[in-house]
């Protein structure tokens, strides 16, 4: 009936020395106790209101008690909220955690620090109705990001004024889950887990949404690890695959970080030495990276208009520099080849003859005693062959040659020779007239970048350069259409 059970009344009676309280008396008292308690609480709430508080304190209850001429309850006044503890073994019995204190301990303890004294601070809550953005005021709109005012965009602002505008550090919050994810992934990659696990890792990186906050960390990780682990081929391979996965992930907006990523990727393509030992198969890595670069250029070329030109410039430098190692040349050739037949025509074919002439001695067993170097040269030779072959193949596919052209073409090219032949074919001036065909073919090579170049001539010149081994690189069906 009442929220105060009559057992409580019995307990209280016993505590003040009445042991034989009649049951009926307890039952009659219980509702009254409840009523009095409610009354006191109402009064206490009133006191709380007049103290302009929203939390009831023991002081309020004591004030209410004294208003009713009841002795206040001593010993409960405290600035802190009371801590109730649950009695062991009872679900609804609570008591106040009130430990016994030793007076001696208290007197011997060092004095505690005095609490800070009440003080008053003054600030402007509003100036003509507008709240100034000062730390004393509530942030104006905590949800919306502060408007990005680019000072440089404001006309007539001097650069020295810009220094006044302090840019606050951007707080970047990374959730605990993402941190764990990043740690786990990087650990797996660095330690080199088994293939199955790595496969899952790459799949996750390529498909999971919500990885965007980690992109800067991953690009940084790749950059760091590439510079650190140039001798560790599996690591480099994994890193490139991470890069590839990130690039493939449709939920990631990776463009802003490409500039950070590209150097590492290019390194893996044209570095002098990849992998510690000399005989490791770094060629595969270079091939993989070449396709990766081609992929990047294709996908982000529109966003970064100078991305491809910068990459090709780097590659061309590596290709044309005779001092560079063969491995670097290989990477450059592969890279250019991967970027498309147009670039091969533009950059490789015109330089092919000179280059092959330099390369041939490296390949012969007489001139090059070092087995490894000879092998490397052969790889480069192969790469060139493949690039040229692919290029011809694509040309044939896009523009099948016609049989009628040659005569016309010949006259055209001869006239052209009259105009600019001197400069481009300087060394061939003294050549025999009967070698007119050879000349034409060579010219075809050096002019390979031109739109109207004759495919047949190109093929012939390539066959001249590479010999009959060239032919398998060119698909037969299209070949048959050509005149040799």
């Amino acid at each position: 009936m009442s929220i105060v059970p009559k057992e409580t009344i019995h307990v209280i009676a016993q505590s003040i020395g009445i042991s034989n309280l009649h049951d009926d008396v307890a039952a009659a008292l219980a509702p009254d106790v409840e009523y009095r308690m409610r009354e006191i609480m109402q009064e206490a709430i009133k006191c709380m209101r007049h103290s302009k508080r929203s939390v009831l304190t023991t002081d309020d209850v004591n004030t209410a008690l004294s208003l009713r001429n009841v002795e206040p309850l001593y010993g409960f006044a405290s600035g802190d909220p009371l801590r109730f503890r649950r009695a062991v073994g009872h679900s609804d019995l609570f008591f106040i955690d009130d430990r016994e204190l030793d007076c001696k301990e208290i007197t011997e303890a060092p004095l505690t620090k005095a609490p800070l004294d009440t003080a008053v601070m003054a600030h402007w809550l509003a100036i003509e109705g507008i709240q100034p953005a000062i730390p004393e005021n509530v942030p104006i709109d905590p949800l919306s990001a502060p408007p990005e005012v680019k000072k440089s965009d404001i006309p007539g602002l001097k650069p020295d004024q810009m220094t006044v505008d302090l840019k606050l550090p951007v707080k970047h919050v990374l959730s605990r889950e993402l941190q764990l994810y990043f740690e786990k992934i990087t650990e797996l990659i660095v330690t080199g887990a088994d293939d199955v696990l790595l496969k899952d890792v790459f799949a996750s990186l390529a498909t999971d949404s919500g990885l965007h906050p980690l992109v800067p960390y991953f690009t940084q990780f790749i950059a760091d690890e590439v510079t650190r682990g140039l001798n560790d081929l599996p690591l480099l391979f994994s890193l490139m695959r991470v890069a590839r996965s990130l690039l493939l992930n449709p939920h990631i907006h990776i463009e802003p970080y490409l500039h950070q990523l590209m150097p590492s990727v290019v390194t893996c393509l044209v570095a002098k030495r990849l992998g510690g030992k000399n005989f490791v198969n770094h060629w595969e890595l270079r091939d993989f990276t070449a396709t990766l670069i081609a992929f990047i250029c294709k996908r982000f070329g529109h966003a970064y208009y100078n991305l491809q030109t910068r990459v090709t410039k780097t590659l061309l430098h590596a290709f044309l520099d005779p001092k560079r190692a063969m491995t670097q040349h290989y990477g450059a050739v592969k890279g250019i080849a991967a970027l498309g037949s147009k670039l091969v025509r533009l950059l490789i074919l015109p330089n092919l003859e000179v280059y092959i002439n330099l390369l041939l001695p490296e390949m012969s067993s007489q001139d090059q005693a070092n087995e490894l170097k000879r092998y490397e040269a052969i790889r480069v030779y192969g790469a060139l062959q493949a690039a040229a072959g692919n290029c011809i193949y694509e040309m044939l596919q896009s523009a099948p040659p016609s049989r009628k052209k040659p005569a016309n073409n010949k006259s055209q090219s001869t006239t052209r020779k009259d105009v600019d032949g001197d400069a481009s074919m300087h060394e061939e001036d003294g050549a025999d007239d009967k070698d007119e065909g050879v000349k034409r073919r060579r010219r075809a090579l050096s002019e390979a970048w031109k739109e109207d170049v004759e495919v047949g001539d190109l093929i012939n010149s390539l066959v001249d350069l590479f010999g009959e081994e060239m032919l398998p690189f060119i698909p037969m069906r299209e070949m048959s259409k050509c005149i040799l």
Binding site: R49, H50, G79, V120, M121, W124, A126, E128
Partner: protein
């Protein structure tokens, strides 16, 4: 046992019937439910069915929770017949019939239902405790504005109606500062006119030179003329003997009025915030002097702390470079003066208009007068028998009013230790008090949810304002003496027209107790400070012009949130700078 069960059964039948009735009549019929519910419960208690009464109460309390939560809380503990006689709420309910207005149709519907179902219990309750009034023959009328009257006891209702017929004089006082200020301007204006007249004579002689001057004078004249013309507030002779103001103070006050910033919906005030820190929840009240120079806080440990804000200074204004380098302490934190004398929590403090003295009301039933020049206690006024909740100086000083737990408000003068008047009539605690600008009236807000206006000379109640749903915690008077604003515990603010005693408009927006209200100097803006950590500015001019249009609401102009600082007090300076003060109370996780 059977009898107890019948109460519940009949009530739930009635409830179902009302809820299933046509929407047209439903709103009117719903009004009958609360009084019937309360009386059913009390009858059950009176007959000794404590257990059943509790059950009955619990099963239907949710229906009435939103509107009557505070009454329900008070009634909940009532279980025995003895409690019925003691409980304040129960007594008022039993002694008075409740007025319920409804249209003829609803009335007949209800009667027909009660007769046809032969629920004699319900019929008995309606008969003995409810005063049904069929106000209009025919269709249910729009009785929305009388919504609150259903919960008001009939006897009180009658008193309210009778009281509110009395005439009151709401003009501003002759000889008050505003009056003097306007007279001064009028005098200047006349002088300017006279000059102009003289000039026109001269102008005939010196045409070219005079023209330019005249144009200038005209402009100056118009600027000043516009102001007094806008207000046509009547002047009144004071009923009390008015204290004399010192010349210095008067000159300064008039100067302030002349330099007053004109505020409006487009020109919002600047707000200076005084924040108490490290109060440990012990700050009970605060007050700011009229010029913002002094700040006083009343604490629950019986002390009053007084800060001199001029000495502390606005850092940019008062601290010159040499001093600052010498004194490395942050300039915003200074020491205060501690005034000790009370023997209970201090619930109210107020500065005199001149700022040279301070009054404090305390839980020890006394009011004390302190001098801010001497930093000492000058007098102790004993008269109340219970804690004094609030105290306020009259606008001219010298007189002051207090509000107390003993259900009275008292008017005092500084030179007498006994009160001059005792205003008795509130049915519960008087929680706040506010002087009318012309010093002839005081307004009191009470826990009985009414605001009353008392004539200081006769001590009679001249107005009762009903409509609040909970305890009144703050009142403000408009400077033209026409309107009054009152704020309650739930965050509602009501704007009253004193002459008609009608609510002009309720201002809803606050979510916590409205601890403080203030009108700007010319009465165009109402500022409210609340426990929900905001200061809100309301446009007064928008609605007070169109009093007839009841749907029009006062517009909320601006909400200024503070940083975990409930606003305890706010006040406009004479130059219309808004000062607010509150205790910084960061929320701790419980």
């Amino acid at each position: 046992d059977n009898e107890a069960g019948r109460y519940k059964e009949s009530y739930s039948k009635l409830r179902n019937w009302v809820h299933s009735s046509l929407d047209l009549y439903k709103t009117e019929l719903l009004r009958i439910l609360y009084p019937v519910f309360v009386h059913c419960y009390m009858e059950l208690v009176a007959k000794g069915f404590a257990q059943e009464a509790r059950e009955f109460f619990q099963s239907f309390r949710d229906d009435h929770q939103p509107q009557h939560i505070r009454d329900l809380q008070k009634l909940e503990g009532v279980i025995t017949p003895q409690h019925l006689q003691e409980n304040e709420t129960a007594c008022t309910l039993q002694e008075n019939k409740v007025h319920v207005k409804m249209c003829q149709y609803s009335f007949e519907l209800l009667l027909q239902y009660l007769q046809s179902t032969e629920s004699m219990l319900m019929l008995g309750i309606v008969n003995s405790h409810i005063n049904l009034k069929a106000v209009l023959p025919g269709q249910p009328a729009a009785l929305v504005d009388d919504d609150e009257s259903s919960s008001l006891p009939a006897k009180v209702q009658a008193v309210v109606e009778a009281t509110n017929q009395k005439e009151i004089h709401w003009g501003i006082l002759e000889g008050s500062l505003e009056d003097k200020f306007e007279k001064q301007i009028a005098a200047e204006l006349e002088k300017a006119d006279a000059d102009k007249d003289a000039e026109t004579d001269e102008a005939k002689k010196r045409a070219a030179d005079g023209k330019v001057k005249r144009v200038k004078r005209d402009k100056a004249g118009k600027g000043l003329k516009a102001e007094p013309a806008a207000r046509s507030v009547p002047r009144l002779k004071p009923e009390l003997t008015m204290p004399l103001l010192t010349d210095d103070f008067e000159r300064q006050a008039l100067d302030d009025l002349r330099n007053r910033v004109k505020l409006g919906s487009t020109a919002l005030p600047s707000v200076s915030c005084y924040t108490f820190v490290n109060t440990n929840n012990s700050l009970n009240c605060a007050s700011i002097s009229a010029d913002g120079a002094y700040l006083a806080g009343g604490f629950s440990d019986s002390a009053i702390k007084l800060w001199d804000m001029v000495k502390m200074g606005e850092p940019s204004m008062y601290s010159d470079a040499g001093k600052q380098s010498l004194n490395k302490r942050p300039t915003s934190i200074r020491h205060y003066i501690r005034l000790v004398g009370h023997a209970g929590p201090v619930y109210g403090v107020d500065f005199s208009p001149e700022g040279d003295s301070l009054l404090s009301a305390s839980g020890d039933c006394t009011i004390r007068l302190w001098s801010t020049r001497l930093n000492a206690n000058l007098a102790c006024y004993k008269g109340h028998n219970y804690p004094v909740w609030d105290v306020q100086y009259s606008p001219v000083g010298h007189y002051f009013a207090s509000a107390s737990y003993d259900r009275t408000a008292r008017v005092w003068s500084m030179d007498r230790l006994q009160p001059l008047r005792i205003m008795a009539g509130h049915l519960s605690d008087v929680d706040c008090v506010q002087w009318h600008v012309n010093c002839n009236y005081i307004a009191t807000g009470s826990s009985d949810k009414t605001v009353r206006l008392w004539d200081v000379q006769t001590g009679e109640c001249v107005r009762i304002f009903t409509g609040h749903r909970s305890m009144i915690v703050s009142i403000a008077m408009s400077p033209d003496g026409l309107f009054m604003a009152s704020g309650d515990e739930d965050g509602a603010i009501m704007m009253w027209d004193l002459a008609s005693s009608r609510c002009v408009t309720p201002l809803l927006g606050h979510t916590g107790c409205v601890w403080s209200l203030a009108f700007s100097g010319e009465g165009s803006i109402l500022a409210s400070g609340s426990a929900d950590n905001t200061v809100r500015l309301w446009d007064v001019n928008g609605s007070s012009k169109v009093t007839a249009d009841k749907t029009r609401r006062l517009r909320l102009l601006k909400t200024l949130p503070t940083k975990s600082t409930p606003i305890y007090t706010l006040r406009f300076s004479r130059r219309n700078l808004l000062f607010v003060a509150g205790a910084f109370s960061p929320s701790k996780g419980h």
